[in-house]
Amino acid sequence: MVWRSARGRRIAYQAAAIGAALFVAWFLISNTAANLEERRIASGFGFLGREAGFEIGESAFLRYGASDSYLRALVVGLTNTLAVAVIGIVLATGLGTTIGLSRLSKNFLLRNLSAAYVEFMRNVPLLVQLFFWYAVITESMPGPREALSPLPGVFLSNRGIFVPTFSGAPELQGFNFVGGAALSPEFAALLIGLATYTAAFIAEIVRAGILAVDRGQGEAAHALGLSRGQTTRLVILPQALRVIVPPMTSQYLNLTKNSSLAVAIGYPDLVSIANTTMNQTGQAIEGIAIIMAVYLTISLSISAFMNWYNAHVAFR
């Protein structure tokens, strides 16, 4: 009788679904508890207060030493992740927009070279590209004493890339550089890899956005006497941006998630440090939970922003 009525059926299905989910959860949790006890692995997040005991190769903002807590180590990892993500996003957006616009150029060389760039970068896995850049920096670059200097103040060597900052320019002292900002080979490889890879996807988004604007808009603007540049700036781009922003934000999120590949080339991002922590304490579940919680927070924040944007800024 319950299953005769449609409403009854719906309730039954949902009850069954909840039941199944609860059963699975119970099954997993009870097994896990038993296994953890058998292997004498601790539970809980108490370990965060304990001394970490390992060094971290580089830290973007915070100071850290081996006697600091695990929690601090993880926070350093997080700031490292954010550092490479933010700079990567800025570089990728600039490069990607340029290439996207180039794809629409009337110039044959510009159009086809940028198309080739996009095709190549999109069809090779990011991990391969990261390993490639790391190999370029560590194998092909000369030592600091013979460092390449493509621009004044910028030095490329196999110990990393050195750039001038507001506080000073890098100078060679002995076997290494002092002053300015130093990008370690790991950071540089990760940054270049992420930026060039994501730029290819952003290029396609920009191109699609501009093509999405109705042809008549450009024609009307030209008929009114607006120049090509004015038309692009005042009529096409504002409309294209509304189509571009959602998928662009999605790419930003991808770049941030992709920065987790840092663990493969030795850059101490959040995943890297969480991995080390898990290996040392044996508390894998807590470690993975932390990683997932952090990334989920970032993704959900960006989704929330996107929803706000769609509701308020998109075309009525």
């Binding site: 024609e219 008929a223 006497g225 409309q239 509304r242 075309f315």
Partner: protein, 242 residues
């Protein structure tokens, strides 16, 4: 005002216009009609170089249209165009749509541009819509805004590419009324349209095109009353029959 001498145009290998000769004097109103695919839209788009001709000469207001972008810009400043799909800028208000070109092309001050804009909005009878966005207006209102937008550049010549074809029937009249008023004030107009009533009322000349050529051209009384060619007769019977 417009002189087209033996103009031909190809899209790839397909010839859309063949040896077209056309002269439009200042103050003249010319209606271009014909079956679809006859090249009439392409013809008027040659006047402000939204399309380029491959052979022959196109001279507008004394300026010959060539590859030189400066000449094209000069012509476009004096020629206004109204499109079938309105092509209003959706991200700008009605007022901003009207002031954009005067400010950025003619370098008129914003205040002056807005005054001109309100003047022409009143002319097309929708001054109260100045602050609205195009999506909030009806089709007929949007097309009238489009006409006002073209007029704000104070053109010497207005081109209309099937201005009422995308409108619901009850809105066609309000747009045609504006066009008739414009004609009566002496504006030079070239209008591609199926609205034969408009042609009868306002046109000095009706140009009939078919297959990329001008087949017949005559004052409306002559064209509608005694069409000379068989193709014109066939077309008229199809268009006027129902």
């Amino acid at each position: 005002m417009i002189e087209m001498i033996k103009v031909s145009k190809w899209f790839g290998l397909f010839q859309v216009l063949t040896d077209v000769d056309l002269k439009v004097a200042a103050g003249e109103k010319v209606v271009v009609c014909g079956p679809s695919g006859s090249g009439k839209s392409t013809l008027i788009r040659l006047v402000n170089r939204l399309e380029e001709h491959q052979s022959g000469r196109v001279i507008v207001d004394g300026v010959e249209l060539t590859d030189d972008p400066k000449k094209t810009d000069a012509v476009r400043r004096e020629v206004g165009m109204v499109f079938q799909s309105f092509n209003l800028f959706p991200h700008l208000t009605v007022l901003e749509n009207l002031t954009l070109a005067p400010v950025w092309v003619k370098h008129v001050s914003r205040k002056e541009a807005e005054e001109t804009a309100m003047h022409f909005l009143a002319r097309v009878r929708i001054p109260e819509q100045a602050g609205k966005y195009p999506s909030q207006l009806s089709g007929g209102q949007q097309q009238r805004v489009a006409i006002a937008r073209a007029l704000c550049m104070r053109p010497k010549l207005m081109l209309f590419d099937e201005p009422t074809s995308a409108l619901d029937p009850e809105m066609i009249k309000e747009v045609l009324d504006v066009m008739v008023e414009l004609a009566r004030e002496g504006m030079t107009m070239v209008v591609v349209t199926h609205e034969m009533g408009f042609a009868k009322t306002v046109a000095d000349r009706v140009v009939f095109m078919d297959g990329g050529r001008i087949v017949e051209a005559a004052p409306p009384a002559e064209f509608f009353g005694a069409p000379k060619t068989g193709r014109a007769r066939l077309f008229l019977s199809q268009v006027l029959g129902h």
